[in-house]
Symmetry: C2
Subunit: 198 residues, 2 copies
Amino acid sequence: MDASTYHHGNLKSALLEHAAAEIEDSGVEKLSLRQVAKRAGVSHAAFAHHFGSAQGLLTALAAEGFTLFGKALSDARNRDCPQDVDQLESSGLAYIQFALDHSQLFSLMFSSKLPDFSDPTLDEASMKAFQAFIADVHGSNVLEVDGPGGIDTVAMGNWAKVHGLATLLLTGRMRSVLSLDATQRTQAIRQILANDGN
Amino acid sequence: MDASTYHHGNLKSALLEHAAAEIEDSGVEKLSLRQVAKRAGVSHAAFAHHFGSAQGLLTALAAEGFTLFGKALSDARNRDCPQDVDQLESSGLAYIQFALDHSQLFSLMFSSKLPDFSDPTLDEASMKAFQAFIADVHGSNVLEVDGPGGIDTVAMGNWAKVHGLATLLLTGRMRSVLSLDATQRTQAIRQILANDGN
DNA sequence: GCGTTTATCTTGCCAGTGTCAAGATTATTT
DNA sequence: AAATAATCTTGACACTGGCAAGATAAACGC
């Protein structure tokens, strides 16, 4: 926007913003760096210095997504009184709601191998979000426990259920749930999360 | 292979095979039609007549994947005696095992928007597989039921749990489970599936 | 048998992509 | 004020998928 300056000032965050916007209405699969650059009013090779490669941009974007995700979860936890509600329902709904609200970002974060998940920043952001979710639901930090006896299978099962529901809804499966209107759908999701399994 | 013939004979299925192979060791994200064509010993534009576009190929590949998926599930059902075992564990394990064995194909089928899921062939193949899974676990066809009271929330919950576990394992989350050796991991998955939730 | 039509595959081109190298421009430091 | 570093542009490269026009082979009608 600032055409007067040769140096943009904060190009890095500007590119991230535009990339996020571009992704959210065109899909992750067909993201074009050149398009994003044009949208930011900058040359097509301006990325290199800030992100290295396209993967660098997507990695940063995914990391940003995970901190946003973590915030959405903690917001839900703070909003709902811990005494009154079932935390699995509350946090699970927030988990799923985030997936539906930021569908493209969510699929970048989870259903793609485009970002570099070994990147320390991304790794830390994602772990933080997961830990927070598990802690909210179970009151303990179970992700770091390993060894055969140490795994909290209940926590894993709940996480899997919530995550599976989110992705199945996101990818257009579960049409009987998707065809419901907003309030009925929320109700249905609540019921699915609440049920005992068998 | 048959260099003597100008007309390949069964190029369509040959291209599908090579594409599947290429995907499985290079990933879905970076599939190149030209590379597949070269591998099949054919020109880069030979696709057009058989699949139309790249999406056509991926759609056919996904459809093939779903029938394969359905067969893996029914195989598991037939192998394990229905009386002895918990069907959720049996079918769930087969579901997850398929995901781990054909990881790239699985992510094409579920975690991508590259295929055209409105394609009748693909739609039918996927629905068939899902129906079979639900029927195996619950003995009834619940996917077609809709309306607020008609949804089988227990079946949905179990499906979500199994699918979530598959995708979380596939994308490298749940490290404490992934770090186990094969038999211990199977045991852990079994436990996660068996637990009641709360 | 032969000629025509149809299906299949190739060649050549196009606009578009991400990446790299070299240079221009501005900020920062010394 | 000079030197250095950071930032951005320009131009090229190899590669991608899609399209048009033509070559080749098969199938069909007679």
